[in-house]
């Protein structure tokens, strides 16, 4: 190892590869094992040393989950798709609009308002759940998907993230010349801003979808015991009771994880970039 060289220029040694491989194995193993149990019989899951090869009973186990009467597992997957898709689409639209306004438009109080947005990033708003439940009760939304969709439709993180991206990626001259040609604000947004921010939309969309799909506490509070659970609430329902059948529960859990695995395979690069960019900006 040469001294005084930046780590980026130092080739990783055998130990680094070994350490990273072991870490990756630990990261992947629970997911792999979830699949193993989801495809096994009760006997196979009750063996020591543990079985580490997938069985062939996945469809049987899955069929059992889907046919459970009071859990609505199939419906819960549909609900999760609806919630995550609507929230993601809405976050992309409203956050890119607001980000555009903060980045490229001049209006009184814009600096103070942007500071306010940044400050709200630090508020742990999960702590308002009791009052949020009462508010939703007044609106008559508890137990409906509206209760989990509407509060997430535009986020402070999204506004800030889009604003940072637009400041650097949309040239002022382009906006100005479009203005001189008589383009309205919305036309500038549609014709100039939107095409330029596609990469940022991909990142924000993936992060939002994952977070919304995985959300548990608030959906549990407002949707538990109703006919419209999200898949996370349904899974917790499957895992509750005096005797939990894990091959069945984990078959359900695996199905609810697959959409996210697909996203990681397709958009892993973007998700990594989004998280790393967020770190540098903070």
């Amino acid at each position: 190892m040469l001294m005084g060289r930046a780590p980026q220029d130092t080739p990783a040694g055998i130990w680094a590869y070994l350490f990273l491989s072991v870490s990756a194995l630990f990261a992947a193993f629970p997911l792999y094992w979830m699949f193993v149990i989801a495809t096994s019989t009760d006997e196979a899951t009750a063996q020591l040393p543990p079985v580490v090869i997938p069985g062939d009973r996945f469809l049987v186990n899955l069929d059992e989950v889907f046919s459970l009467q009071d859990v609505y597992f199939a419906a819960s997957l549909v609900n999760s798709v609806i919630v995550a898709t609507v929230v993601t689409a809405s976050v992309l639209f409203f956050c890119s609009l607001a980000g555009f306004a903060f980045a490229k438009l001049r209006f009184r109080g814009s600096r103070a308002l942007l500071l306010f947005v940044i400050l709200t990033l630090t508020v742990p708003n999960q702590l308002g759940v009791v009052a949020l439940y009462i508010v939703m009760g007044k609106l008559g939304w508890n137990g409906t998907l509206l209760a989990v969709i509407v509060p997430g439709m535009v986020t402070a993180f999204g506004v800030f993230y889009m604003r940072q991206f637009i400041v650097n990626s949309v040239p002022d001259e382009l906006v100005e010349s479009a203005r001189v040609d008589g383009a309205t604000t919305m036309r500038v947004y549609w014709n100039i801003v939107l095409p330029a921010v596609r990469p940022a939309l991909a990142v924000l969309g993936l992060l939002t979808f994952v977070a919304t799909w995985n959300d548990f506490q608030w959906p549990l509070i407002t949707l538990n015991g109703t006919d419209y659970p999200t898949s996370m609430v349904a899974i917790s329902d499957l895992a509750s009771g005096n005797y939990v059948i894990y091959r069945r529960v984990l078959a359900g859990a695996f199905v609810a994880t697959v959409p996210l695995l697909i996203m990681l395979v397709i958009g892993g690069r973007q998700i990594v970039r989004g998280i790393m960019e967020g770190a540098v900006k903070s």
Partner: protein, 330 residues
């Protein structure tokens, strides 16, 4: 900050009287577009934040000062500080606070240290760079509900892989560890889940910061003959201090609100008791139990406020502590 200069306002010049009607209409439209449309674009965020973010936070304080039960709507009225006062004598709250801090310590410290080490490895010149980074995010995208259930099988007393592996090492071969029987073991199990979930994510945050350290900082250190390990602690960590503090604050906020893992670690999850004797019941879990199982929203709201204040204080303390430890003395 770059801002666009709006096109000059046409209203200032007087158009010829014959065409005034048409121009006025267009002028008005233009003026509306320039002056008010920006506010319309940012309005959705502020509207939603006020209704579903700020208002509930404030209203929570009102609820905490009142009698508010879901099973007895007749019982209303001001309670004064009764709900808050009860916190000081409530053994359940004390126990939940103790558990929350225990799990928090067992998860945050190893989590951030391991993330640092992994980030420093990822920061080397590496084959398959993207592949390693993406694989670090596998736990991050996995739903906590799903992973917690896998860990439940892993930590089962009689047939769990954890006890089996410990048995191979000669630990607990006579009486297998019952991971749900006492505080320490249940805390370790839950902390393991939290660590698994967040190490890779934090490693990427650190990696991002490490890559923005200028190369000449390292080149200058050649004079000291700093090896990779000393390089990490002496140069890299102090240089990425802002991000280290950021992750400490993030894990403080997240860790003190821990909910999903302790909920589902219980074999009878929906009771929200966190073990037969509340061995691992966290504050967030107790808030849920008091509010939606005991149906006492007033008391749950007071508890939320208490937790909020505790998070503020601990986040501030941790920021100061991290600042010192990661080289703030310079």
């Amino acid at each position: 900050m770059a801002t666009t200069r709006a096109a000059p306002e046409p209203t200032t010049r007087r158009p010829p009287p014959t065409r005034s009607r048409r121009l006025t209409w267009r002028d008005r439209l233009h003026r509306f577009d320039v002056r008010y449309v920006p506010y319309l674009l940012i309005a959705p965020f502020f509207l939603l934040f006020f209704v579903f973010g700020l208002f509930p936070m404030v209203f929570n304080g009102v609820v905490a000062l009142r009698h508010w039960r879901l099973d007895d709507p007749e019982l209303t009225g001001w309670a004064g500080f009764e709900n808050f006062g009860r916190l000081f004598t409530d053994g359940d709250f004390g126990n939940a606070l103790y558990n929350t801090f225990g799990i928090f310590l067992l998860s945050t410290v190893p989590q951030l240290l391991l993330a640092l080490v992994i980030a420093s490895m990822l920061n080397r010149r590496l084959r398959g760079q993207t592949w390693w980074r993406v694989s670090a995010l596998l736990p991050y995208i996995t739903p906590i509900t799903a992973s917690t259930l896998v860990f439940n099988v892993f930590f089962s007393r009689d047939l769990g892989m954890a006890n089996w592996a410990l048995g191979l090492l000669g630990v607990g071969t006579e009486t297998p560890i019952d991971w749900r029987a006492d505080k320490l073991h249940s805390w370790i199990a839950i902390a393991t889940m939290v660590n698994w979930k967040w190490i890779g994510y934090n490693a990427l945050l650190y990696l991002a910061a490490m890559q923005s350290i200028p190369r000449d900082v390292y080149e200058a250190s050649a004079l000291d003959g700093a090896g990779p390990w000393r390089q990490l602690w002496r140069i890299t960590v102090p240089m990425i201090r802002p991000v280290v503090i950021f992750t400490v604050v993030l894990s403080t906020i997240g860790g003190l609100q821990l909910f999903t893992e302790p909920m589902l670690f219980d074999l009878n999850a929906q009771t929200a008791r966190g073990g037969a004797g509340g061995e691992w019941q966290t504050v967030a879990q107790l808030i849920y139990k008091v509010g939606w199982k005991d149906l006492n929203l007033g008391y749950a709201a007071a508890m939320s406020w208490a937790l909020f204040l505790i998070i503020l204080v601990v986040a501030a303390l941790n920021t100061m502590l991290t600042n010192r430890l990661s080289g703030g003395r310079r």
